[in-house]
């Protein structure tokens, strides 16, 4: 059983969450026309053996999307943040 550390609800069992996959992917702009860019976003995955940044949805709790650092080899849970805070950081960095 994984125990995720929800920033709002505290430590909770994985059964309260839904997995959302790789959180390092950034959705291309809707006007993006390059099929290579969409190929990378939709299909290709780094799939690291080790630290992985991923989305989890706390659907049986606060219903927030989280970004969790988790090691895919050891299942060790690292830093956990609200996805919207991470998104703010990403857009600030882009500006």
């Amino acid at each position: 059983m994984l125990r995720l550390h929800c920033p709002i609800c505290g430590p909770r069992d994985e059964t309260e969450f839904t997995y959302g996959g790789d959180a390092t992917l950034v959705r291309p702009a809707m006007e993006e026309r390059s099929s290579e860019v969409w190929l990378a976003y939709v299909f290709q995955r780094e799939n690291p053996r080790g630290p992985h940044r991923e989305y989890w949805h706390h659907h049986l709790g606060c219903r927030q999307w989280l970004v969790v650092e988790r090691n895919t080899l050891t299942h060790e849970i690292g830093e956990t943040r609200l996805a919207r805070e991470v998104a703010d950081l990403v857009s600030e960095a882009a500006e």
Binding site: Y19, A40, F43, Q44, N47, T72, H75
Partner: protein, 417 residues
Amino acid sequence: MRYSALAVLRHALSGNRDWARAWRDPEPKPAYDVVIVGGGGHGLATAYYLAKEHGLRNVAVLEKGWLGGGNTGRNTTIVRSNYMMPGNTLFYERSMKLWENLSRDLNFNVMFSQRGQYNLCHSPAQMDAARRRGNVMRANGIDAELIDREEVRRRLPYLDYSERARFPIHGAIYQGRAGTARHDAVAWGFARGADRLGVDLIQRCEVLGFLRDGHRIVGVETSRGPIRAGKVGLAVAGHSGHLAKKAGLILPIESHALQAFVTEPLKPLIDTVISFGAAHFYISQSDKGGLVLGGDLDGYNSYAQRGGLPIVEHTLASAKALMPALSRLRLLRHWAGVMDMSMDGSPIITKTPIEGLYLNGGWCYGGFKATPASGWCFAWTIAKETPHEDNAEFTLDRFRRGVQIDEKGMGPTPNAH
């Protein structure tokens, strides 16, 4: 030495003390025509068919652990060919035909048992979908039977047909030629067959990187030194993404853990293979009497060969919903393997954009049944530089072209296939 009933008798008389080892344990040579990375069923089958069908005998299989120690030794041993998407259907049927003659071909008993497989249906809509699947199979010359609730009840009287059944059984689609095989024996049979044709099987030899000449890959860097090769084939499902990345290739694959379970041994109870249609669950009985069962992925990326408890509970709840009599049975063991979950649920057997590198992976749940055809088609692709028509659709660029082979209709969500 050929194995035979006479040999068994002769060795029995001499106390079974002088059986020769089944394959050599050679030191790696500095160079080979072809190096296959991964000594599981698929890699060993590839080497066997390279030597047997294409006369390529200067071949090595490199395995970081021991032969068949990955998913070949961790699956639930089910063999079937009930696929309906173009690209899949005839490939899995080729595999079935190879299975049917495999013990004889390898002179090694892989204990292939065509005990039949039932896919249960729990709604009229599921019966319609099963009828469509059965028609596609029969149109391709594959056996399929649609049977109603009463016939399922006659054949499998121990399932829950009561008023209280959470998912009432409406019928089933049945493939009589499906069944099970002894998973370790498949690895050992192909290993012995390849070794007898001159292939070097090199264990405890981990591939750490690739040797390059310009863009071309000309060998591998291993824990036992560099080994040069005309061609390098990857057959390391579970770790395909990890190894391909070292060659500079990003794959449409995520690695996920899938668990399997075995109960304490029982008297003969289930003489076939049963797949539950309401949840993802399948069950059969091993020759030792243990019920072998499996279910869903754990659901998050993982390279750990162990699973979590929520899936244990979920799988056993499915077991009990289907067969209430199992409720007091004790679980003996559970374990997990690392799956290459591809983005459409179908495999990849292809030349890669990198010269000298060939890829066999993306097997999701379906690798064991595919073992013979996977090796057969991968050997063809490596030897002839072009895919056979049965693996022609298993390319990497199907994702670029938008023509995925999505048997379950799930879209690019690897943990849902």
